[in-house]
């Protein structure tokens, strides 16, 4: 469903991504981890073309992301993304956040979009919050709305960029629960996170990045049992300790 072949990206002379290759099959859940600044965000932003890259190739559902002729807006409409800081639109109610792209991008009728939004709000357990503004919700609630907003577009896959790292500890689980359920329902997901409990529970594979390289790309079990690189071992022992 998603394949990266020798993707490299530069900011000037600085190489942010170095020769990254991997495959994500339909229904697979991949966790990406690694130290801060290792290029995790950049990598998943390349997948939906939010960041351009200079070398290599990314194919999402048969569409080449780097190809100039690709209609990136149309591709992005089919790839859900959830951000660390939620990025709900603060000038719109929760309901409006869920409806706007459905009507303006997919051309759905408003009633249809509202019905879809309501259904997904129920799915994330926030059906009673539709008329509030995002600023009136807790972080965990905002992130669940953000997930619902992405799901409203009927995405073929979902990208998560550290969805719980801006949350107070007591709110992390409400978001992870939604994500676990999503994974169990068969959604294809790439999740940048340091929540190793989540990785163990639902991820088929774990990718470990360092200095813009994919250092490990392993089955979840073997990644935790015996990480091959010293860097990954060191990283794991550090985050599993705290």
């Amino acid at each position: 469903m998603i394949s990266l072949r020798n993707v490299s990206k530069y900011y000037g002379d600085f190489r942010v991504l170095a020769d990254c290759s991997t495959e994500v099959r339909k229904g697979e859940v991949i966790v990406v981890c690694g130290p801060s600044g290792s290029g995790k965000s950049t990598l998943i932003k390349c997948v939906n073309g939010l960041e351009p890259f200079q070398r290599g190739e990314i194919i999402v559902d048969g569409v080449s992301v780097g190809d100039r002729k690709t209609n990136l807006s149309r591709l992005r409409a089919r790839v859900g993304m959830v951000f660390q800081h939620f990025e709900l639109f603060p000038h719109m109610t929760v309901a409006e956040n869920l409806v706007i792209a459905q009507t303006k991008v997919l051309g759905r009728r408003r009633e249809e979009a509202l019905a879809k939004g309501t259904k997904l709000l129920e799915r994330v357990g926030l059906e009673d919050q539709a008329d509030k503004y995002p600023g009136a919700l807790s972080g965990g609630q905002q992130q669940r709305v953000a997930i619902a907003r992405a799901l409203c577009m009927d995405p073929i896959c979902m990208l998560f960029d550290e969805p719980t790292s801006a949350l107070d500890p007591e709110m992390i689980n409400e978001v992870l629960d939604v994500m676990v359920q999503l994974a169990k329902d068969g959604m294809t997901m790439i999740v940048v996170t340091h929540e190793m409990g989540f990785a163990r529970k639902v991820a088929q594979r774990v990718i470990f990045m360092d200095h813009g390289r994919i250092v490990e790309d392993d089955q979840t079990e073997s990644f935790f049992r015996s990480p091959r690189s010293a860097r990954a071992r060191q990283f794991l022992s550090k985050i599993l300790r705290d």
């Binding site: 932003k45 939906n48 939010l50 807006s73 149309r74 992005r76 409409a77 089919r78 790839v79 859900g80 993304m81 951000f83 800081h85 990025e87 709900l88 639109f89 603060p90 000038h91 706007i100 792209a101 303006k104 991008v105 997919l106 907003r149 992405a150 577009m153």
Partner: protein, 225 residues
């Protein structure tokens, strides 16, 4: 000791009120046109078509670097000719009001565009990324996500600029157009009571502008709460 005599004011009130209407009309047109054209300029400056961005930047910098009174005089001199030629109006047709409106609108647009540009920059990159991630085009992201927030963030500055604009409309006296200030001056000249009339006009400007700026501050506090 100067003997104040306010007696010419009551009789002149209808004339002064008409002058106030002229001032408010010029202000309203300049605000509406200035914000619309200013928004377009701000967006053009962000355009990836470089010549468009340069033209918009040139426009803004030009108008911000010349005195308003000069711009107005310029418009009083050229716009009448232009309108008269365009619509085949007689030389006697009074186009000063339209000239004033055009001059103010074009001048204010430069200032409004700077405010709106700052507003656009105040909207985080993450919001734009989120809009794009939902499949919005650049235009949609701008219209649906960035500009509404830019305006919301800039409401106090836009209103403050409107208050300044209202005060500046008094500059149309250079064309002898009877706006509020011009009307007051004329009455004062007629009755030899310029001091009284100017004090009165000043008091009216002060009350209106001070009340308006208090209102803006209240709004600002409410928005911050």
């Amino acid at each position: 000791m100067y003997e104040y005599d306010w007696s010419s004011i009551p009789g002149a009130l209808p004339f002064l009120a008409h002058g106030m209407r002229v001032s408010l009309e010029i202000t309203a047109v300049a605000i509406v046109v200035g914000i619309v054209w200013g928004t377009m300029l701000a967006v053009l400056r962000l355009s990836s078509v470089k010549p468009l961005a340069w033209l918009a930047a040139g426009y803004v910098n030009l108008f911000r670097s010349v005195p308003l009174v000069m711009v107005l005089l310029w418009f009083f001199l050229i716009v009448p000719q232009f309108l008269q030629d365009l619509f085949n109006l007689g030389r006697a047709t009074d186009t000063r009001l339209v000239s004033a409106m055009v001059g103010f609108a074009l001048f204010e647009a430069a200032y409004y565009s700077e405010i709106i540009r700052a507003g656009i920059h105040s909207v985080g990159q993450g919001q734009i990324a989120a809009a794009h991630a939902l499949g919005m085009t650049r235009g949609q992201a701008l219209r649906l996500v960035v500009l509404p927030q830019a305006f919301r963030n800039m409401v106090p500055l836009l209103l403050t600029q409107a208050i300044i604009l209202f005060q500046d409309t008094s500059l149309v006296y250079v064309s002898a157009l009877a706006d509020f200030f011009g009307a007051a001056y004329k009455v004062g000249e007629r009755d030899g009571r310029i001091v009284e009339l100017l004090l009165f006009a000043g008091a009216v400007y002060f009350v209106l502008c001070y009340a308006a700026s208090r209102l803006v501050r209240r709004l600002q506090r409410r928005a911050a709460a």
